[in-house]
Symmetry: C2
Subunit: 441 residues, 2 copies
């Protein structure tokens, strides 16, 4: 950086002026003085693009150039960095990203879907152009976890990542815990309070968390991004009775993103990436994460366990992460987006989850007739699953169902899968069994 | 950075080869490949200095040049960065720091006392020389909280910092919680387990936490470092009965470092810095921090609440933080050590704690005779302290003491101080009253 550019403003084009975009405008205005002092230069929005120029957003856009076509911002001479807050894994957001980087501009995005699908090719382009590509806001809202892993824990081989990465799902689960209400009812309430969208699929089925997990895995393990390999299961099958049962056993239920790397005898790495509801011991840091909060636990081979926690969404927190990236760029930090150069990221085969050992919670809903318990326990025996405890509710519910929950001893996950498969055609089961991994402390 | 130096090793001189120094040597050896990939160049120790060259440390030092006088390392041509792990706020550590920076070398330290006392002048020197001064390891061991605040939360005005910053004190308090044992007994046990030093004064009296708090305050608020202004109180007066009483009221007791900035009507800032045992609501993130773990809660005006948690000490975690700083330097990150240039740090007067309002826990130990309760409650009335609840134990303990605990309504801290002062000459009190602030959720 020359002395001349060192104090020149960092000029920003903003694509998207929804709640987060307006949050960025407000933040850059309200905190302008301290941001300028910390960044060593002012951060200045020069151009904005959004769908509707005339909507009242509560902020004054008249000082910024307006572009109807956001992809045109990549070509503007008065722009150093493009901030993309539009969303969508492909389409205009991706075009804008590619054009901005090709034009030698930095690129900052909150778009987890795009980074999870195209982060690798975008990083290669950014590194070739020696421009910054940053996406702190794409993972866990305002929590500086990308920085924490990419830089703060950079000295460590990260051995595992566990995260609560979706605020909507966590809000629903912790509400169910408090109220004792069922999933459908709690979802409806979350929607009315604005914690869940009208179409909540991406949140409650784990897709949103899976996007974030794939990004975290690439940063943490130097693994080539592989979103399609994330094994993903949502929370819609969880019942109030599961939460009560978990509580009685000393656990809470959380939707957990989990990633780690295992190596075979020849040292060939395989990457586990899964988003699944799990039983979390009440003494575990993630058990205390309630409401829409997000949290990530990373284990480093020298640092030990690190926890990063904060607001997982919202205009303020997301704007905080976007502007942190901009301050880094203003300070001259334009290193490899995924910590190591994109060409050094290692393509890893998905790990076979079935070989993993651990304790598992299994819940069956069955018809209320003799012999069902014998059928279930026989399947467990035949699949070599050892049962630590089993609870059968004494009375059938209104639907004539009986609830049978059990916890296995430590054993291979594949055996549990086999047991479930043995029971898959059983007419005694009124719904597919719910299988949840139990985390250790 | 020129193309030539970009891939040249970063050459490191290590002052101090105790447990942390050996941890750094091990880390740089064990994780060499991934560190080199992340830093873009190898990190290579070239020289080492320590008290005893011949002590068996379990690592091979023969590949490094040896200096008997550590301050000589500042002058070596084969060194880019000096790492100081010797400790002591003045003396050789400070001489080494000044000489290394003056010689144009980067400087990385885990020395909280030196940074708390001399961080400002060292930062000015480092900025003048355009070299890096970094001290992630000086605060909260392996937790990347300096980075988290300096960079991750850089977009925010930080409104407050709350931290559990001393692992020994936290271990003792959480052990007392679990075992019901007293302070002296628990300290002795902590010493035998290696969680407390033979002379535990700095840890249990809050001095170590105060060093860290002063550093956090400078980074967070742009305040000129003012260690002498930290109001500091330790945990040795806390009894098992206080912990039991707090528990019954829904709290745990933690030694909390607290800092924030208040502004008067003219906008003149005043800085609150205190380390004191506090009652923490069981729902607060810091209530779940047990054992030697450290944690910091920062409130940003856009990010909301951020929590950073991890191991507060130990060779692995501390080495992790030291090497993270080295990787930053290898990547070319040499910005202002305290986020804003040292010349821009604002000298702030200490805030008057007495004006703060809040709830307070007060505990008296009194002689078992009539009229004592009337005396205490009269002092409260005369000092305008409103009592929410009061518990007097029915029976005197072996020492003939009765235990009286109360919780006040929200009110100014100064009134409580006044009440305590009114009782200071009372012959009924067998020990000075214990006053602890109650944190809100």
């Amino acid at each position: 950086m020359t002395a001349e550019t060192a104090n020149a403003p960092l000029r920003i084009a903003l694509a998207g002026a929804g709640t987060v975009g307006v949050g960025v405008i407000r933040l850059l205005r309200d905190n302008a003085e301290l941001i300028s002092a910390r960044a060593g230069r002012p951060l200045q929005i020069t151009a904005v693009s959004a769908r509707d120029r005339n909507r009242d957003r509560g902020v004054d856009l008249s000082g910024f150039a307006w572009e109807d076509d956001m992809t045109a911002m990549a070509a503007r001479d008065d722009v150093d960095v493009v901030v993309e807050l539009v969303g969508g894994s492909d389409g205009p957001a991706l075009t804008l990203a590619r054009n901005a980087i090709a034009a030698g501009k930095g690129f900052v995005t909150a778009n987890k879907a795009m980074v999870a699908h195209h982060g690798l090719s975008l990083a290669q382009a950014a590194e070739a152009q020696q421009v910054a590509l940053k996406f702190e806001a794409a993972v866990a809202g305002g929590i500086p976890v990308i920085k924490g892993l990419r830089e703060g824990a950079a000295a460590n081989a990260i051995t595992s990542i566990l995260g609560i990465l979706n605020g909507t799902a966590n809000y629903i689960l912790s509400e169910m815990e408090t109220s004792g209400a069922g999933f459908a009812e709690t979802l409806k309430e979350a929607q009315s309070l604005g914690y869940a969208e009208a179409d909540p699929t991406f949140d409650i089925e784990g897709v949103d968390a899976a996007h974030k997990l794939a990004i975290l895995a690439a940063v943490s393990f130097g693994a080539s991004m592989d979103f399609d390999a994330v094994s993903c299961e949502g929370i819609s099958a969880i019942r109030a009775a599961d939460i009560a049962q978990a509580d009685a056993l000393g656990y809470v239920i959380r939707l957990i993103g989990m990633a780690d790397v295992e190596r075979d005898e020849a040292g060939v790495p395989a990457l586990l990436q899964q988003v699944k509801p799990c039983l979390v011991p009440k003494g575990h840091p993630l058990a205390h994460v309630t409401g829409p909060t997000n949290a990530i636990v990373a284990e480093g081979n020298f640092s030990g366990r690190l926890l990063f926690q904060g607001a997982g969404a919202g205009d303020g927190p997301t704007a905080s992460a976007v502007v942190a990236d901009l301050i880094d760029i203003a300070r001259g930090e334009t290193g490899a987006p995924f910590s190591v150069p994109a060409s050094d990221l290692v393509s890893m085969a998905p790990a076979e989850a079935g070989k993993r050992t651990g304790q598992v919670y299994l819940r069956f809903t069955v018809t209320d007739k003799p012999g069902v318990l014998a059928e279930i326990t026989a399947a467990m025996r035949d699949a070599n699953v050892s049962i630590e405890s089993l609870i059968q509710e004494g009375r059938a519910n209104d639907g004539g169902e009986v609830f049978v929950a059990m916890v296995t001893h430590d054993g291979p996950a594949g055996c549990v899968d086999h047991a479930v498969q043995l029971l898959s055609d059983s007419p005694s089961l009124t719904a597919p069994p719910l299988v949840m991994q139990i985390l250790s402390d």
